[in-house]
């Protein structure tokens, strides 16, 4: 499946030459370039070294950077994050890789109680410049335990930033930002986006964490989404265009900080909103965006905010059944039509 052409608009943010890279290459390049630039960065995680990374993001790293900087760990999620936090407190910049976000549940305490709170709890005495990289997403017939998209849960907590890039451009630029600042960042990659291609600047660049991006301009409805759901939303927008409905697609790019301004500005123009998320609906991003719009743009509302989410059931194995539970372009189209 090829990337919808309008995603190329992101490049408007950069100057100069671009080259086409996959999402995987973009992330890999960000890590590689930053490790070359800054010796205090090292990576630790399961199967990242000799194996080359379960999603091949760190392939070739072990041979180039060596076992001190590319540290294969035991299967110890609590200690991977915990030790990375301790090392970050004490003058290094660890990247802790969790094979998938499903295993981040085991490290919930280390992420929420320690990565996110240590700076605050000791009155700012030390910083925790750790980047926790992981992959999210369902749709691969991995069953209920391996198909979660719970990034919004982490975004609930002050003290951490949650990046959810949808394009190679954003992934590389945001990861560079994460590696150059001093906040703990949960960097959530989507497991089905690694092959996607897109333009990436040849020159060094950063994309701020906390700034949403308009991935497609439109006038009739605002579709808010993030990560893989941006692609779904853009496809829906194309279908809607064929029917004469103009959609603006807002890619949040990070769940925390949440860029309310971009969402509200778009909404005040279109007066209608659909949120597309890969998580279940209850207490999610859709709920949050709905609340923000109601609180801050009530007078601009022409219709209730719609939410397209994953069905309220564990994700099943059987392919068609699983797909039926996930958001897709036709569900988004239907949600838009329901309010137009």
């Amino acid at each position: 499946m090829s990337m919808p052409t309008n995603v190329l608009d992101t490049v408007a943010h950069a100057t100069g030459q671009t080259e086409t890279k996959t999402y995987r290459e973009a992330i890999s390049d960000a890590l590689w370039e930053e490790m070359e630039r800054d010796e205090s960065i090292f990576i630790m995680g399961e199967e990242i070294g000799v194996w080359g990374g379960t999603y091949a993001v760190t392939r070739g790293f072990y041979d180039h950077f060596g076992p001190e900087r590319i540290r294969d760990t035991p299967i110890s999620e609590m200690a991977i994050v915990g030790a990375a936090v301790g090392a970050a407190m004490n003058g290094t910049r660890p990247v802790a890789e969790l094979m998938t976000i499903n295993f981040a549940f085991l490290a919930l305490d280390a992420i929420i109680n320690h990565a996110a709170k240590a700076h605050y709890m000791f009155g700012g005495q030390f910083t925790v410049p750790v980047v926790i990289r992981t992959t999210t997403g369902g749709g691969r017939q991995l069953g209920a335990t391996h198909s979660h998209s719970p990034e919004h849960i982490f975004a609930h907590f002050p003290g951490i930033q949650v990046a959810v890039p949808a394009s190679p451009f954003d992934a590389k630029g945001m990861l560079k930002t994460a590696l150059r600042r001093n906040n703990p960042v949960l960097f959530v990659e989507h497991s089905t986006l690694y092959q996607r291609r897109g333009p990436v600047p040849v020159d060094d660049y950063e994309v701020p964490i906390g700034l949403a991006d308009i991935k497609r301009e439109g006038t009739d409805v605002t579709i808010v989404s993030y990560s893989k759901m941006v692609e779904i939303s853009l496809k829906a927008a194309e279908q809607l265009e064929a029917e004469g409905i103009s959609s603006e697609v807002v890619d949040l790019r990070s769940l925390r900080p949440l860029d309310k301004d971009t969402v509200l500005e778009s909404f005040k123009k279109t007066n209608r909103c659909v949120v597309v998320e890969e998580a279940h609906q209850l207490y999610g991003v859709g709920s949050e965006i709905s609340a923000v719009i109601m609180e801050e743009a009530f007078d601009w509302m022409d219709a209730p905010v719609q939410r397209v989410s994953t069905a309220d059931a564990p994700l099943p194995y059987s392919a068609e059944l699983e797909q039926s539970a996930l958001a897709n372009p036709s569900k988004v189209v239907a949600a838009v039509k329901a309010i137009i």
Partner: protein
């Protein structure tokens, strides 16, 4: 590694300071000046003092929420510690942490941490960073007996073992995790056995014997400082004289058990030894007691006179940049 007569007196001063500091904390808690959870170190002072003399000042120390004693031993000022208890801006953590979260990065005291076992991988990480940067510091990680039953313990020790990191793990076995005795909580009663699984030398030591611990821990610290060697573990057997935290009904033990344990009060044992060895007279020790009384009183005064945080500063330090 043996202590000079001056150090022996200084150690006595330190242990008396911890004891008095804790007693004053208890009073201030009852008076409503200290809130939250308060865990006293009374009965366990010898270990904090031992760590002071067994390490270099730039070695890292990290511990759980029962952290007042080791914070004082690490050289944090009593006034700023008390100010933290009272939630003042002059507190070591600017009133954001409270009793359970005492740190001073300059003194390489990396905090008390309130999630049982949560600081163990942080210790692994502190040591990893030093190892990575080529610094020859050692990390001392104190923990309760209860934390050896939590998953973090196994992951953190194993990882430190695999990477041969310079950590000295010290279990403070005070016989209970809240109201649950070691016997009722751990399948092995000798907690040192757990280190075997991580190929770590381990030793049970008398947690009330200051001189013995300085010797044992001191040697271990220098052993661990050699990057070839990897971590070691101690189980310091001691006893907590007060409840787990304030308001513990203590239904899990008898008065007799406590009285019996108090016969091995580490401060009393140390005083006896100092007199026996002719290092101090009873009068000299009493004089130290008077000094301590004044110092702790000054700490309380400083804390009480310190300002509370401004409400508009609530959002300070949520993010670093």
């Amino acid at each position: 590694m043996s202590l000079t007569p001056e150090q022996r007196l200084e150690a006595y001063h330190l242990m008396r300071t911890i004891r008095r500091f804790e007693e004053r904390c208890a009073e201030l808690y009852s008076a409503g000046d200290i809130g939250g959870f308060l865990h006293l170190y009374i009965g366990q002072e010898a270990l904090a003092a031992a760590v002071k003399y067994a390490t270099r000042p730039d070695d890292n120390v990290i511990t759980a929420y029962r952290d007042h004693g080791i914070a004082l031993a690490k050289g944090l000022e009593a006034g700023r510690l008390m100010a933290e208890m009272l939630g003042r801006t002059t507190g070591v953590s600017k009133g954001r942490g409270g009793s359970m979260h005492l740190a001073d990065v300059e003194k390489r005291m990396w905090g008390g941490w309130a999630i049982v076992g949560g600081h163990l991988p942080l210790a692994t990480g502190l040591a990893l960073a030093d190892d990575y940067n080529g610094d020859d510091r050692v990390t001392i990680c104190l923990m309760g007996d209860g934390s050896t039953n939590i998953g973090y313990f196994h992951e953190a020790l194993n990882m430190a073992g695999v990477w041969k990191l310079p950590v000295v793990w010290i279990i403070e076995n005070n016989e209970y995790g809240m109201g649950t005795s070691v016997k009722r909580a751990s399948a092995v009663e000798e907690l040192t056995e757990k280190a075997r699984a991580y190929n770590m030398p381990a030793k049970r030591i008398d947690g009330n014997d200051l001189q013995g611990m300085v010797q044992e821990i001191g040697e271990a610290v220098e052993h661990v400082r050699d990057p070839e060697n990897g971590p070691v573990l101690f189980e310091a057997v001691t006893y907590r004289f007060r409840g787990h935290s304030m308001g513990d009904p203590e239904r899990y033990r008898t008065k007799e058990e406590i009285t019996e344990a108090q016969r091995r009060d580490p401060i009393f044992l140390w005083a006896e030894k100092l007199i026996e060895d002719g290092v101090a007279t009873q009068e000299a020790l009493d004089h130290i007691g008077t000094q301590v009384e004044e110092e702790v009183a000054a700490a309380v005064k400083f804390a009480k006179e310190s300002p509370l945080p401004e409400l508009e500063d609530l959002y300070d330090h949520v993010y670093a940049d």
